[in-house]
């Protein structure tokens, strides 16, 4: 896969670093809430995160339904609402919305907040590591073939009309050499202007087995995930797209 250059108009709308955990049994929601005190200056916004579950059951005696709501943690937002961190009992998620500067400051901030989270939650183990980058590529209209801009696209039989008015495609691609999986999702979305068509290219790269537990190895693995994410993106775009975002 090709290597990456830095783009001045990178189409990233959201970058995510995610660490799933099995928490220690002693950790409580109040402990997570207290974390806000140490980051309130940079992340004044706060909201609760809950898990909703529903169940429908058909038995000989009749049908029963049930639903439950379980508080799972908190979401803290920066003043400009571009940086959002979720601290939940089941994991830690850091999001950066556009404009995205670069990997290093994003990773450093995630690393700093993870250290605070880890000290409070004392996870039994990390269960999942993921980086996810959502890109929106605005393609000027008109164009003949999506392949002029993207190399991973659906193949429509030659006997059918080739124009698409809707697209949602999700591919699960094992990355066996690094023990990871890529979920590549592409979709047509509402464009910001009538003279372009917008395609979202979402790259979610994760590992759920043999997850590094030591902090040094964990963050070294994130470097690997990030590099591979860049390679996946580069492999998906054409030179025409590169010119657009250069």
């Amino acid at each position: 896969m090709p290597s990456r250059t830095q783009y001045s108009k990178a189409p990233i709308t959201e970058a995510i670093i995610d660490i799933g955990v099995r928490p220690s049994e002693s950790v409580r929601l109040d402990d997570l809430e207290r974390l806000h005190d140490s980051i309130r200056d940079e992340y004044p916004g706060k909201a609760g995160r809950s898990l909703f579950q529903g169940r429908f059951r058909a038995e000989r005696t009749g049908v029963s339904t049930s639903a439950s709501q379980k508080p799972m943690g908190f979401l803290f937002k920066s003043r400009d609402e571009k940086q959002i961190v979720q601290m939940r009992l089941d994991g830690f998620t850091m999001s950066r919305l556009a404009p995205y500067e670069s990997w290093k400051p994003f990773r450093d901030e995630a690393q700093r907040l993870w250290a605070l989270y880890r000290d409070v939650v004392q996870p039994e183990e990390a269960t999942r590591l993921a980086v996810r980058y959502i890109n929106r590529i605005d393609i000027p209209l008109p164009f003949d073939d999506l392949k002029e801009y993207l190399l991973t696209v659906p193949e429509v039989a030659p006997g059918l009309p080739q124009a698409l008015s809707g697209l949602f495609m999700q591919l699960t691609i094992p990355q066996e050499d690094i023990g990871c999986t890529t979920i590549l999702t592409e979709a047509l979305i509402e464009p910001p202007a009538p003279e372009v068509a917008s395609v979202v290219v979402d790259i979610d790269l994760f590992r759920t087995e043999r997850v590094p537990q030591d902090d040094g190895k964990l963050w070294a693995f994130f470097e690997l995930l990030h590099d591979r994410k860049n390679q996946v993106f580069e492999a998906c775009i054409t030179d025409k797209t590169r010119e657009m975002i250069q």
Partner: protein, 92 residues
């Protein structure tokens, strides 16, 4: 051209709900689209699988597939009060 990876079937056919949960509008759009695609697929796959397993449609001891939590949502309810029908013009 793509081929199917040499993995257990559930690894190659499952539509993945978007995770980790995104906060931007593009990510939320994808989550909704993935959710719709998942329901669409499960709706059909459930019937196909029950036929393969020789399930009898008459029995009522069907055990649904346990629901997997897909994420969390924040909702706000407002009580609108008593509702009345809208006025309707009767065209004689």
């Amino acid at each position: 051209m793509p081929a199917v990876a040499d993995l257990p079937p559930q690894h190659s056919v499952v539509i993945v709900r978007s995770f980790p949960e995104a906060q931007g509008c593009e990510g939320r759009f994808l989550s909704d689209a993935a959710e719709r695609a998942t329901s669409h697929w499960e709706d059909r796959a459930e019937r196909l699988l029950s036929r393969l397993n020789g399930a009898d449609d008459e029995t009522l001891d069907y055990e649904s597939v346990p629901l997997v939590p897909v994420g969390s949502v924040l909702v706000r309810y407002e009580i609108a009060g008593e509702l009345r029908p809208l006025p309707y013009e009767w065209d004689e």
